[in-house]
Every structure is written in C-alpha cells, then in structure tokens.
C-alpha cells in the first residue's frame, strides 16, 4: 500500500507550535503546484538535467510531508535523470499526485 502524506515530521519539529506548522504548510501549498508545473515542462521537453533539478527541489517537500519511501524514490529518479533515464517517472508522478490531493484536504 502506498504511503500517505502526513504531518508527523512537522509535528515532531513544531512541538505544538501551530503557527510554525501552518507557515510550512502555507509555503508548500503555494510553491508545490508551481514546482510541479516546472517539473512537467522540463520532462515534457526531455530536459533531463533541468528535470533532475526540479525533482531535487520537490524531494525536500516530499520528505517534509513524511513520505520516506517517496523521498528515496525521488532520490533514485533524480540520479536516473542525471544519467539520461526516467524509469521512475510514473511512480514519481503518483507521489506528486498524492501530495496534490493531500494539500487540497488540509
């Protein structure tokens, strides 16, 4: 079963500081859709190095949202892209989709 985005990491860090949690979520809600669009533009034009940069940026948000396996997959995908491959593309995009859905619920 695919892991789900969550606030576990944020809760650990925040130690009950709701303002901090909301600040992080607010930034992610604002930046994530933009970064996904940038990623899509790069991969659609087969600009692998640029796509690797986009994945690198996205993977930090993936990790903040508690997706440990997703983070590992993103790291693998980033490395693949630097070698001109995109085997993990579909799996990576599933993660992005999961996060998009999650961000609409919080």
């Amino acid at each position: 079963m695919m892991e789900k985005p969550n606030k576990l990491y944020l809760k650990q860090l925040s130690d009950g500081d709701i303002v901090f949690e909301n600040q992080i979520i607010s930034i992610i809600k604002k930046e994530f859709p933009v970064e996904v669009l940038e990623y899509q533009n790069s991969i659609n034009t087969s600009n692998f190095l640029k796509t690797a940069e986009n994945v690198h940026k996205l993977k930090h948000k993936i990790s903040i949202l508690g997706l440990e396996k997703g983070y590992q997959l993103a790291s693998k995908f980033e490395k693949e892209l630097k070698s001109g491959m995109k085997i993990q593309q579909i799996s990576f995009e599933k993660i992005l989709n999961e996060i998009s859905v999650y961000l609409n619920t919080i």
Partner: protein, 235 residues
Amino acid sequence: MKCLIIDDDATARLIVNKLCTSVDDIEVVKEFSNAIEAIKFLNSNTVDVIFLDIHMPSFSGFDFIKTLKAPPKIILTTSDRNFALDAFEYSCVIDYLVKPIQLERFKKAIDKLSIFEKNGETNDAKPSSEPSVNDLYVNIDRRLIKINIPDIYLIEAKGDYIKIKTESSNHIVHSTLKKIESKLPSDMFLKVHRSYVINIHRIIDIEDNSVLIKKDVIPVSRSNRGELMKRLNLL
C-alpha cells in the same frame, strides 16, 4: 552564537530557524535565499556559524565557501548525501546535515559546534590537506559509510578500486590510493609500495623488504624504504 541561514528553499529556512529556537545560545541574525546576498552581508557583518545549503541555483554552497577569506564555522544542510566527502575538505565545515533534519541530529551538530568554539579551532577556507575530523566517509553502494581513520591499518590498490582494511571490517571503494592518501593524516599513514598504504602505528615487524601488519605481509619498495625507516622510533 550568531548564525546565518542560507538556503534557496523557504521551507528549509523556516525549519532551520525553528530548530535554532530549540537549542540554547543560537541566535539567527539573518536568512538569505541566495549566497550572493549573504556575501554582501558578510562584507560588513560577522557571525559565528552559517547553516548553508549546498545545492542552490547558479552559486552553490561550495562556491560560497571559496569566496570567503575568513569563513566562520559552517554546518552544511543538504538533501544530497553524495557531497559528504567533498564537504569535509573544508576545515571550516564542522558538520553535514541531511534533510529532512531531525531535531536530535541538529542538537548533535550544535554540541559539536560548541566543542569547536571552546577549543578555539581556527577557520580556513582553503581545502585542507588533512581531514579536520577523525572520520572518513566512503561511498559504497550509494551509502556513505563512516570509517574511523585510526582503525584503518592497510589500504590496497586493486585496479580502479581500493580495499580499506580496518580492525572490524574491510571495504572495497571505487577510488585511488592517491586520493585516499590525501585524506589521511600523513603522520599516521605512509605509502610503502605503489599498491599499498599502511598505518605505520600498526606495524608488527619489518623484515628485509616487507612489513607485517596484523596478518598481512606487505612489500616495501626500495624507493619508499628510506622514508619508512625515518618514521620509525629506532633504538
């Protein structure tokens, strides 16, 4: 201690800032989303430590370190484990935090920082010829394995690889003797043959043109024998 945070990612800056509030004696004086602005700030201000992202567009964390004449202590923050070995070539770098940064790991970095501050370690932006710490990180199967340098007793060249032998384990690493030699303290390690670097503190005996280290008999080339003899505390 006054600190700066440099990271192009706003969430990362916010997280490091939050982590700083969780420990005593760290004051965040400024945050920057790019290294250029931070350099301008440092031209007229001083700080004790910088939390620095490596992977930033156009100007990386390493580029930033190279521009500073007298850098403060630096704690690198990155999503990429692969730069750890490069990172410790800079003596101003005292730790390397992999994102997402956990509070306990952050506290360890701050403890380390306090020790450096108490000991009055000097800063130096130039790549050091010797590692600033006792640990060596080697990349094996995409993992960075930490090896305690004094535990290494022998390094053997094997084609494009080297075999690092320690008290507890052996590691095969894609590297060269020359490269690893540059990372090891020269008062402890010596190249005795084109295929071997030894820890001279671990020698058991020397006979003709060979040394015995643990159970390994290592040849000593004629050209290296003189240097080896010089290093020994002969009676």
